[in-house]
Symmetry: C2
Subunit: 276 residues, 2 copies
């Protein structure tokens, strides 16, 4: 175990540990502690408040699964909002959909964008695309001001601590419903079922009281706590499990496939039980 190792305690009694080749940047921003490091196993990695946010090696799983599941559910997504997601990975995937005319990114912490562009260019490079409108602003307030505006909204937040705490409230989901058009869809990352079962249950209940179609799906993200991640979808009209074959078009992915889209909703029994 020579050299420098970073350990994220994912619970009080369990964590992941990874060898760090060098620290690229570290800073207390106005919102959180930001660290950018080069790991030996996962490439460059962004850490916020001690939690792994994204790594060069496995980022594709999270970003593809946030973006493509709702975007292939909506029949014609034109205007998309990403709340958080300053690393740009979700936006990169959103831009793979030719129907998308405008993708708005509202990230509260400009430093996340700045250092992602510098040290994770394969992820953040998409933020310079002409279809993207980057706003350094409070996502909660942006949602509160928006009405009948977006086809798809994606909440790519940190855990419900620090700046993201408002993004896990029922009031926020009600705001999202208002900000969406009348056939709009939203998705939020909702942590893992091994250590955060109660959070998943609460969000699922809250969302299902606002949206007629509420569904939970999973993806496997090795650098996140437990490795099993959940996403909650709220949809006004379109069912992610009832999309037509014609809606699919071939895109370049490393995780998402047409078959996996449906399979991701087949939950392990102990996870399915959280939605009942």
């Amino acid at each position: 175990m020579g050299g420098t190792w970073f350990t994220e305690k994912q619970t009080d009694n369990y964590g992941i540990t990874m060898k760090i080749n060098r620290t690229l940047h570290t800073e207390q921003t106005d919102f959180q502690k930001l660290e950018m490091v080069e790991t030996a196993e996962w490439g460059n990695m962004l850490i916020l408040d001690g939690m792994v946010m994204t790594t060069k090696k496995d980022e594709f799983v999270y970003h593809e699964m946030v973006a493509h599941v709702p975007l292939f559910t909506h029949p014609n997504p034109k205007k998309v909002l990403v709340v958080g997601g300053g690393d740009g990975g979700v936006i990169r995937e959103v831009l793979k959909h030719p129907s998308v005319e405008k993708a708005v990114l509202v990230e509260i912490d400009g430093k996340v964008i700045e250092y992602s562009k510098k040290y994770l260019p394969s992820i953040a490079g998409a933020l310079d695309d002409a279809r993207v409108d980057v706003q350094v602003d409070d996502g909660f307030m942006h949602i509160a001001k928006s009405e009948n505006e977006y086809d798809v909204i994606m909440v790519d937040s940190t855990e419900p601590v620090g700046p993201a705490v408002n993004l896990f409230t029922k009031g926020f989901y009600a705001g999202i419903s208002k900000a969406l058009k009348d056939d709009g869809i939203f998705v939020a990352q909702t942590d893992n079922p091994w250590f955060k079962a109660e959070l998943i249950q609460t969000v699922f209940k809250d969302v299902s009281e606002i949206f007629p179609i509420t569904r939970l799906y999973t993806a496997h993200i090795p650098t996140y706590p437990s490795g099993l991640w959940t996403f909650t979808i709220g949809s006004k009209k379109h069912d992610p499990l009832a999309i037509s074959e014609e809606r699919f078009h071939e895109i370049d992915t490393k995780y998402y496939t047409k078959e996996l889209h449906n399979a991701a909703f087949a939950l392990p029994k102990f996870v399915a039980d959280l939605t009942k």
Copy 2:
């Protein structure tokens, strides 16, 4: 990070770390280093040669997914062989199928059985069932001696180092084919696609040269490297993706469901690519 922590380096540069309340037993057996510890997060845990084998909290995933996928594929499994699996977890799941008349366990290391019975009774208790025949013996040799005998064979081995190295060879798969009846099925755990892609590719190719139906499926096991685990099925006749509704019966599980059976074969694209 106070107290005692166990860290498994899952690669040279990455690992998991967990708090240990106490060490229950540690011994160099004739085959491997055996450690039984009480962890704060995962309960009692069996470690062989420094690798986490099973924990009280998450063992159900592995054991259910090894057992139920092939057993619900076979129309009438009566005689089942488990190679390895001395902790008894796969046997416990096998016994949930009323068609099974005899379940043979061939574990090379009697100490694994002894200390699993002592410290993991909720897993190993099934080994005392009247339908179970426990043999402390070399699984490779047992297979070599068997002919047209088993409906389903499950290879619940350690990684291909130490005593399990012969269990990842083409000769072994040929022996399994001979040991199976003419509509037999076998499954083997085949490690993870993040760090052991080449192993998965090699096994899949070897198995598909012997069995007419070869398929890969996954399960999410938080305490195993990367958390995404693969299993390779070789089948002489029955397709795990073409099972009938009637074959399913309700069983008590925490991970496996009828829907998940099929979904587990929908592979992330980078995993599917290993089977081409």
